[in-house]
């Protein structure tokens, strides 16, 4: 250590105290000399010697050999010397555990010193001596110090519990220190509270499931009180702890927010960020229509902006966090674009982060300003920054359509500068712009081609090759250009090779006559001379395609490409939620969950934002976009009956459900089981395109199959449903029960009328849920996205219970089956005919309208079986004027078969009477809006014509009900 050898002025000559002489070393026999000095009688000399030892320790010399001599100096009333010896002890005790015991006595004695500073010093140092043998001796002194009269000792002892826990967790639990620590949360001194909170939080982190902190409204109130009084650091500990609490309801959430908001004006940025964390988290629970919610949003922006005037390192932390906040709640900072403009002297890490946020905030309103800035940045010095600025221009073009043209011309200007990396970066982003706006900016291709030779980065070369291949028909010398790349084919990176292969095949398909030789060359290069399996495979596929079916090849290779998304580099929503819970911490700086960089049990626990649970009624369902992965949460709300059973199964909870309520009619239950199976598998596969459920329970073919087996209910139907998937499979295999009648799908909206979108569909009732089952077919040439559906008001208040789940874009000639759960709580308007439904379907192309008629049997609910007595009374009660009679012709079922078939559609037979060879079936039906329909069905053996009488307080429905009878019995 060079500097340690410097000679420094002697202390005696200067009035200023200088310690640097202790770094001076005499190389030979140094340890020996120090030993002698340590054992000197003179106090001053001893102290000097210890200082020298500490200095050697600092520069990394091993002075552990002096351990006994240094420990001997411990028994002193000189506080300065004591502190030095303690410092030495902390460093070397572990390497000399036997000797360290010598120190115990002194600690125990010091813990009872009259001077609180010494008591605290002892308890502080004690915890830093990580020797197992010693720790148990320290429990008694620590216990005393935790109850010391002096707050300074108590706050030090609180931290010491955390230290001890780190060495020996079991000991701390056995000794009951955790309870003492919990008591300190109610201490009168705010700093003691803060340290106790810090210690408990840390201990709780290593016991993820213990309810150590036990946060409840009372303890939260204590913390909030201490928050106003303790030091800046204490405020951080408390706020970070508060952030782990989940308020019971929105009112509590709001009251905590109100008490945390003043912290946003604290001078310490960490206090501000921790307060932001608490607010961002608790805000989740507030109803959006609350005035306070918008007030809070407004209050968050200024402090976040102020963080940007902090020192650069803190700015960096703030910016990384703002990046998360902007993704979660873009509205907070949408008007603050200017503060993220890069300053010339900002450190590079600040510049890069600001740029990122600028792009996220870019919108039509500010795009002109943003572009002007980005253009400015593209001329700066730092290569990374310039590249990112160029890329940002491309992202603006893709994000804000109105600006695309300006962006493209800016990029062209930049290409003219001929600065190599700028040109390459520009070409990469222009490729993306072509993808987003096909057939719009191809005029610039010529300019791009001029720069072909200067491209030396794989990504840029690949992008350029893609452009040439994609627009081969417009580039006269496309073959020459591609051929020039082919020469050094094997020196290119895989990315370029793959792109080149595809581009030449595209070229061949577009200009087959001139390029036969070229395509053969590239195919042989890819398949015969390459070791890369991806490349070879792709080569073979093209080869076979081209040789067997050129038309198919064209369809595959030149297929229309799906559009690219507008936002890039977005953090995946569940990760984003977790990171929001970690605002201010390292996780938010790295944009990684703590488990990615923290070892052991700490931080493994995944934090999540609280869900909105209103104390007051609020029918608003959770914001689907914001609460990522809301599918399982949404499920119960769309299934009114049997909700808990279904919910359990959907969560794949295999425990047999204990449904205590009255069991629903067995057939309905059966259907429920089957549909669950389908639904469960669906969600397992995470794909909506091939719903298995549709095949099992939904297809008309299946319905016909049910009809063909008019068996009596199998006994197994009464077995408990939901004993596990195995049971469900069994049920599916044993008796094919009667299903509810599902009309075959018919075309509702022909493609001619809807710019290529064809919709056919039907209605079904499964497990008490009305489903609208749709088949969407794209018969147009372009991709369809952004589907949505809406109903006009109708007689029974049918309305979609959720959004139309078409997650992937629908490509040309693709078909997708969707089933849309319906509720009957929508607005009501009487339609003519009664069961008419007017539907509007929207996609990215247009809005289309059609109307369809649903079988009213969809509305027959499962609990429509009336008591006999009630039936009789009601039948009499309803005036005869309301009775209507219909004939059902050509029906060859006997009365029992008819009865069980009707039961599948929730038409329940209550009684049967046989009079003179004529079976009289009395049936009841309940509609979803509570209307009862009573029926009398007369079946004469050998007569294919049935007579049916319907009685209802609302006679309008009779006609529809009759149609249902007919449909059910005849299918």
């Amino acid at each position: 250590m060079e500097w340690a050898n410097q000679l420094c002025e002697n202390r005696q000559f200067g009035s200023k105290m200088t310690d640097s002489k202790y770094f001076t070393t005499t190389k030979k026999g140094e340890i020996f000399e120090l030993k002698a000095e340590l054992n000197s009688d003179k106090k001053e000399k001893k102290k000097e010697a210890v200082k020298k030892v500490i200095a050697s320790m600092t520069v990394g010399k091993d002075v552990s050999a002096l351990f006994p001599d240094v420990v001997n100096c411990m028994q002193t009333d000189n506080l300065e010397l004591k502190k030095l010896v303690y410092l030495y002890l902390m460093n070397y005790a572990k390497s000399q555990p036997d000797m360290a015991i010598m120190a115990v006595n002194t600690f125990v004695k010091d813990c009872e010193d009259a001077n609180p500073l010494i008591r605290a010093l002892a308890v502080r140092t004690m915890g830093c001596i990580r020797v197992d043998k010693i720790t148990e001796y320290l429990c008694e002194p620590l216990r005393k110090c935790l109850k010391d009269e002096d707050p300074y000792v108590r706050k030090t002892a609180a931290v010491c519990v955390a230290k001890l826990h780190d060495i020996n967790a079991q000991l701390v639990e056995d000794q009951g220190f955790l309870d003492t620590l919990k008591d300190l949360i109610s201490d009168s001194n705010p700093m003691v509270v803060a340290n106790a909170v810090a210690a408990l939080s840390e201990i709780a982190e290593s016991h993820p499931n213990s309810n150590l902190l036990d946060l409840n409204p009372q303890s939260i109130n204590k913390l909030l009180t201490a928050l106003n009084e303790c030091t800046e650091w204490g405020q951080i500990f408390i706020l970070d702890c508060l952030a782990n609490y989940t308020p019971r309801d929105d009112r509590e959430s709001q009251s905590i927010c109100e008490r945390v908001t003043p912290r946003l004006s604290h001078a310490n940025s960490a206090v501000v960020l921790s307060a932001v964390k608490v607010l961002m988290k608790f805000m989740e629970m507030l109803p959006k229509d609350l005035d306070y919610y918008s007030t809070l949003l407004k209050k968050l922006a200024p402090p976040l902006v102020t963080l940007l005037s902090a020192e650069p390192e803190l700015q960096y932390v703030a910016l990384r966090n703002i990046n998360l906040i902007v993704q979660k709640r873009p509205e907070i900072l949408k008007h603050e674009m200017k503060v993220f403009f890069v300053k010339y002297n900002d450190p590079i890490y600040v510049k890069l982060e600001k740029l990122d946020i600028m792009i996220r905030l870019a919108s039509q309103a500010n795009i002109a300003q943003v572009l002007a800035e980005l253009k400015e940045y593209a001329t700066e010095v730092d290569v990374d920054f310039v590249r990112k600025a160029v890329r940002a221009i491309g992202r603006c073009a893709i994000k804000v359509e109105q600006s695309a043209e300006r962006c493209v011309s800016t990029l062209l200007d930049l290409i003219q500068t001929k600065v190599n990396y700028v040109v390459q970066e520009a070409i990469v982003v222009i490729k993306d712009i072509f993808r987003k706006y096909p057939n719009k900016y191809e005029s610039v291709i010529a300019t791009l081609c001029e720069n072909l030779d200067s491209l030396d980065e794989p990504e840029a070369r690949a992008a350029m090759i893609w452009i040439v291949g994609e627009y081969a028909e417009r580039i006269d010398n496309a073959d020459e250009l591609l051929e020039s790349f082919l020469e050094g084919f094997h020196d290119e990176s895989t990315q370029v090779q793959l792109q080149l292969l595809t581009a030449i095949v595209k070229l061949f398909l577009k200009k087959p006559t001139e390029t036969q030789e070229l395509v053969q060359q590239v195919l042989s290069l890819a398949t015969q001379d390459s070791d890369n399996p991806d490349l070879r495979d792709r080569g073979y596929i093209y080869w076979r395609l081209l040789s067997t079916d050129p038309v198919a090849a064209k369809e595959v290779v030149l297929a229309e490409k799906p559009l690219i998304s507008e936002e890039t580099d977005l953090i995946e929503p569940t990760l984003l939620e977790e990171l929001i819970c970690h605002i201010g911490t390292l996780a938010s700086v790295y944009h990684k969950p703590p488990s990615a960089f923290v070892e052991g049990s700490r931080g493994v626990m995944h934090k999540r934002l609280p869900a909105r649970t209103g104390s007051g009624e609020s029918t608003e369902s959770p914001d689907v976009g914001a609460a990522g992965g809301s599918a399982p949460e949404a499920a119960p709300s769309i299934i009114p009956s049997q909700g808990d059973l279904l919910g359990d199964l959907l969560n794949l909870d295999m425990a047999p459900p204990t449904t205590s309520g009255p069991p629903p009619p067995s057939t309905g239950m059966q259907m429920g089981g089957m549909d669950l199976l389908g639904g469960g598998l669906d969600s397992l596969m995470g794909d909506e395109s091939e719903p298995l459920g549709g095949d099992i329970g939904g297809s008309p073919a299946m319905g016909a199959g049910f009809g063909a087996a008019p068996a009596v209910m199998p006994a197994s139907l009464n077995a408990p449903v939901g004993g596990g998937l195995g049971d469900l499979f069994d049920l599916g295999g044993v008796g094919m029960p009667m299903g509810a009648y599902i009309p075959p799908k018919i075309v509702w909206l022909p493609a001619m009328k809807a710019k290529g979108l064809e919709i056919s569909g039907t209605f079904a009732r499964r497990a008490g849920v009305i489903q609208m089952e749709l088949i969407l077919t794209n018969k147009a040439m372009s991709v369809m996205t952004d589907f949505a559906i809406q109903f006009n008001r109708n007689s029974f208040g049918l309305a979609p219970a959720g959004p139309l789940q078409v997650l992937t874009p629908l490509g040309p000639n693709q078909t997708i089956e969707v089933s849309l759960p319906l509720s009957t709580v929508g607005p009501v308007m009487k339609m003519d005919p009664l069961n008419n439904l007017q539907v509007a379907v929207k996609n990215n192309i247009d809005v289309f309208y059609f109307s369809c008629q649903y079988p009213i049997s969809m509305l027959f609910v499962e609990d429509g079986k009336m008591e006999r007595q009630v039936f009789l009374a009601t039948w009499k009660d309803i005036p005869n004027d309301n009775e209507s009679q219909f004939q059902i012709k050509d029906c060859h079922l006997n009365s029992d078969a008819a009865s069980s078939k009707l039961q599948g559609s929730n038409i329940f037979t209550i009684a049967k009477r046989t009079v003179e060879g004529q079976d009289m079936l009395y049936m009841s039906i309940k509609l979803s809006n509570g209307i009862w329909v009573l029926a009398e069905l007369r079946v004469q053996a050998g007569n294919p014509n049935y007579t049916i009488s319907l009685k209802c307080r609302a006679p309008e429905v009779s006609q529809c009900v009759f149609q249902c009878y007919e449909a059910v019995l005849k299918n």
Binding site: W3, C8, M17, D19, S20, A55, M57, T58, D62, S64, Y86, L87, P116, C128, P151, Y152, V153, T156, N189, M191, N195, T231, W233, I236, F237, R259, P262, S265, H266, A267, A270, V272, S274, V305, T306, S309, E311, E313, Y316, V317, Y344, I348, Y349, Q369, T379, E380, T417, K418, V419, H582, G584, T585, L586, S588, V589, Y590, F597, V598, E599, R602
Partner: protein, 447 residues
């Protein structure tokens, strides 16, 4: 929490090393010499070395103030050529770690002046003592220098009486940790400095791209006892609240955001927007604020750069002062960047002195004083060496420095009332001084 704290010199040698937690020694760190079966203290050195090798000795510019090496995170700040690094293995509060490092610098400066290798070596025992006190098991503790100086001194620890001891502990842990009881002055006096730095980014066409003032109210108080103070300024929200009452002649300003010293009662500010506090003795930064509306831009810079052929540039810059003619701006400096391939410069200026500084690639034009509503001009001819460099000159912005005797935000101190109920002096007996200084922050005009 923080696992360890190291101070390095510019060569990467360790001056101070304090380890709070064992875990930080567990590498394995790449590029570091790793001894087999080494002792605890040697393993600690791995973390120390990892930072030196990967950050201090790294070839490129520092790309992030937080570095993760082998699952160990290093936070660093630099003061002149001294590096302070905090090390951790946990998911710590990153903002807190940096705030702590700054605070650590403040505390060291308060104790022994500038942070330099020399000073650190001369005070290493003191630094260890401080680190022991203000960081316990990696948790920052009270770090107010006022309180610390009562029991950690450079001249060894004085023996204290029992009363003194309990006074110290109650102050360190107390609600008012920043002030001790029993302060007495013969003359009660206080000084308020409103210090503002005005920041501007202007386009070559004179369009304001962004402008803001970041201001500080610094208070130096020499008051006896535990004085209760109340501070008032022409904050728009307060003045609007007070309504019509005669405040019409007073211009109010819109403050975007403000932060306060920990002595200010934040909940009171949040509820009533009144600033009340018991100040620390001596100097403290009472408040920081930021404004963006109706800023008085003291100077306007009008650049004109013309490229004459490939080897010559003509630059003309006009500056206009934009404030009351009776006021004087001082220490005016205009910095006009020149290309790297400049071979010679000829300058003519109407006022002040201008010089081409080749080492800084800039023409520096200095004017000692300039009154308001005046105008001055400089013109320069820059000769360039022909180069093959394809990359165009980036044209850094023209920057400006100055000092003016008013607050560019328009902030005015309306009152600072002092109440000390226990001692017999009243608000009128306190001698108060207020001063406004506006300085340039980053004041740039693109050319």
């Amino acid at each position: 929490m923080i696992g360890g704290l190291f101070i390095y010199n510019h060569k990467g040698e360790v001056l101070i090393s304090r380890v709070y937690r064992d875990d930080i020694g567990k590498g394995p760190f790449p590029n570091c010499f790793h001894k087999v079966g080494c002792t605890e203290s040697y393993r600690m050195r791995n973390a120390v070395d990892a930072f030196r090798v990967n950050v201090i000795h790294a070839r490129q510019q520092v790309r992030s103030p937080v570095t993760n090496i082998a699952r160990t995170s290093f936070f660093h700040v630099k003061r002149s050529n001294i590096w302070l690094a905090a090390v951790t293995k946990q998911n710590v509060n990153a903002a807190m770690v940096f705030e702590f490092l700054y605070k650590m610098c403040d505390v060291m400066t308060a104790y022994f002046g500038k942070i330099s290798e020399e000073n650190i070596k001369n005070n290493f025992v003191l630094i260890y003592e401080l680190l022991d006190e203000i960081l316990d098991f990696g948790y920052p503790q009270n770090s107010e220098t006022g309180a610390l100086k009562t029991f950690i001194t450079q001249t060894g620890i004085k023996s204290q009486s029992k009363e003194e001891q309990s006074q110290i502990t109650s102050q360190v842990t107390g609600q008012i940790g920043w002030r001790r009881e029993g302060i007495k002055y013969r003359r009660n006096e206080l000084f308020l400095d409103v210090l503002e730095s005005v920041n501007l980014l202007m386009s070559p066409q004179g369009q304001v791209l962004s402008a803001h003032v970041s201001g500080r109210v610094v208070m130096k108080s020499y008051l006896s006892g535990m004085p209760e103070c109340k501070f008032g300024m022409n904050d728009k929200i307060v003045i609007d609240k007070q309504g019509k009452g005669g405040a019409t002649e007073e211009q109010s300003i819109a403050i975007d955001d403000c932060t306060f010293h920990q002595c200010v009662r934040l909940s009171k500010f949040d509820a009533e927007r009144s600033i009340s506090f018991i100040p620390p003795d001596g100097e403290c930064e009472l408040m920081r604020y930021r404004t963006t509306k109706d800023i008085i831009l003291p100077f306007r810079v009008i650049p004109l750069v013309r490229e004459v052929g490939r080897t010559k540039l003509e630059v003309k810059v006009v500056i206009k002062s934009n404030f009351k003619p009776s006021l004087l701006a001082q220490k005016i400096e205009v910095r006009i960047p020149t290309p790297l391939n400049t071979s010679g410069v000829q300058v003519i200026c109407m006022k002040g002195k201008a010089k081409y500084k080749a080492s800084e690639n800039a023409i520096v034009w200095k004017i000692k004083r300039m009154a308001g509503m005046k105008e001055s001009q400089i013109s320069a001819e820059i000769e360039l060496l022909p180069t093959n460099d394809k990359k165009k000159w980036a044209r850094p912005p023209i920057s400006m420095n100055f000092e003016v005797p008013f607050a560019p935000s328009g902030l005015k101190v309306r009152y600072l009332k002092v109440f000390e109920p226990k001692l017999n002096y009243s608000d009128h007996d306190v001698i108060k001084w207020v001063r406004y200084i506006g300085r340039s922050g980053i004041y740039e005009t693109r050319c």
